[in-house]
Amino acid sequence: MTALAWLVPAALFLGGLGLAAFLWALRSGQFEDLEGAAYRALEDDPPEEDQGPAPK
């Protein structure tokens, strides 16, 4: 029974981590251009300095 005392929080924490990762990705514009991202992965040039949020 004591196992649950840390298993449940651990599960919640890991789930929360996933959620946080998703929210971060959303914020940083990872979903802005789903088509273009496929091509960018094949780009030979070194990535630009600006890899943060897409400028608006």
Binding site: L4, L26, R40, E48
Partner: protein, 729 residues
Amino acid sequence: MTVHASPGRLARGAESAHAVTDRSTLTLAIDNMHCGGCMRSVERAALAVRGVETARASLAAKRLSVTYDAALAGEVDLIAALEQAGFVAAPIEAAKQDRDTARQKYLLRRVAVAGFAAMNIMLLSIAVWSGEGGDMDPALASMFRWLSALIALPTVAYAGQPFFVSALGALKGRRLNMDVPISLAVVLATGMSLYQTMVGSGQVYFDAAVSLLFFLLVGRFLDESLRVRARSEAQNLLSLQGGIATLIETDGARRRVAAHALRPGDRLLVATGERVAADGVILAGKSEIDQSLITGETAPVAAAPGAEIYAGTLNLGQPLEVEVTAGDDATLLAEIGRLMLAAEQGKARYRRLADRAAAIYAPAVHGLGLATFLGWMLAGASWQTALTYAIAVLIITCPCALALAVPAVQIAAASRLFRKGIMVKAADGLERIAEADMVVFDKTGTLTIGKPQLLDAETTPDAVLASAAGLAAASRHPYARAIVAAAERRLGKVVASSGIEEAPGEGLKRSAGDDIERLGSASWCGLEAGGEGSEVWYRWSHDAPVRFCFADRVRSDAGEVVAALKRQGYEIALLSGDSKGVVETIAEDAGIARWRAELKPADKIAWLEARAREGRKVLMAGDGLNDAPALAAAHASISPASAADISQRAADFVFQGEKLAPVLEAIAIARRARRMALQNFTIAFLYNIVCVPLAMAGFVTPLIAAIVMSTSSILVTANALRLAGRPPL
């Protein structure tokens, strides 16, 4: 007059003298960016402009976002640089776009949070429910319930916002919308569960409340995505057609500016083959103007100094200098725009399928919930039990199918049409086009290609056609292009002869030794003044001249499409502003028995209104500026991508290509989408018929309610996705 990009963070570096930057941001619509290579070239071209700091293109949105130092670069430099790299770009008003994406992200964040919470709460509840009555320690069950409460309360407060806000808005306006029962169910279920958790009872519904929110939010998000994509596509289209213009400054310097920045009194240079950006008067230059977008007439009109010239027309001959008389809002377009606005009012009354269903559904849900509560109270149950059952009814009846299935069907249908080159512009366009029972076509540009074609090309000798095409290849005149097109069909590639001179409005000539080769008007070729306008003569030296005749031709599959529509039971009509004879010929060609000629825009509206009074639901297909009001007035409307921008704005659908078949396609897919939406309503209805009586009788535990509700949501979504062939997102 100058075009200033709005300075962004001006004050930021103002104090540190060495870093006074005037940073601005700009979003450009890029017309012909199709692949990763294009995307890269666009970014490179933009970054090469002095003063540009960052440039990031979005392939999905066909847009480029740039931040730049406004002291060093401007909107116009960027557009010019991209033009040089081979891309057509136009600035976009970014504010609206930002609002759209912000709303989308707002919903997506809530989808994520609700999804996370729903999974975890479901995990805990399944443990509790399956342990109930067994060997589960009551203290542990209580702890799990408290944990669920801990997750659910912030989730409901956060993820429920879109529904609460909308429900409050409706209640303030003394209306009921779908969000009222949703909010009620969620808030009651959460509050009740919290109370039950505190008193230590087992009737806890956090799982149901949160998973309900999750599914509804997914539906909301899909619906929003469809609207945003439609809006952003339309916005791109409009910006690009507005285009850029060449301004002649008072000192004679030439500058490229955005067309929307032109003011009366400005002097414009309209190059050969360029669209006129504003209404004006010609100051210098002699040319021919293609006015087909305005008048629907394909034959070019001669233009000389002093003549009026309208925005949207195409300069076919020599460069013209134009003084702007009316800028952006005060053009001929404005008049048409007013007619259009009036016509659109009628359409605004259209109520979407889901809304109509909600109008019946929402009161029924409230009524059933209340009846359950009162019934159980009267039967002597405690208020907790009565309320518990009432909430179960609210959750069971919650309109997941309505809220999720309809948007899912629509987004599937829209993405399928999109792959076929048809753009759904109005979110409710699919529903309206599916209801149509009559199709009305415009003539020029819709039923016909809208470009003159060479008649009787077969009878012209090969050699004559080849030399005529050699001359014609040097000109952008529509007749010259028609000759080249005909020659290319018959003889293969056409190369322009060398040493060609073009006399605007008259013709082309080329000297070969002592002989002179001419292509142009009758007088140009040394004949008495010619008869009709739609002809061109070719003459080699003193040989007898050869005549070429032109006419607009119906789209290759117009007859088939009309026949197919007739077979499907649609009534077909042709409305045109053109003269009787021409319209009659085209109507016969396309197999249309019912036609009206010489109609003004207001006449078209009157005709459509008369049909509406008869109870007909008309699909209008048109392209010209003069069709825009009719497009707005019709029950549903479709426009080719070559149409005037204002018509594209008015139309519910825009299709690409030389063929008319997309009209059929759009109707077929829209009708299938409608069938599927109705199927989904039926699924939801059957499920309610079975579950609601059980819930009212108190047999449905919260877990069962939540599971059954989720299953029905997944079922209707899966059904909707059948339409897309592959997942739409």
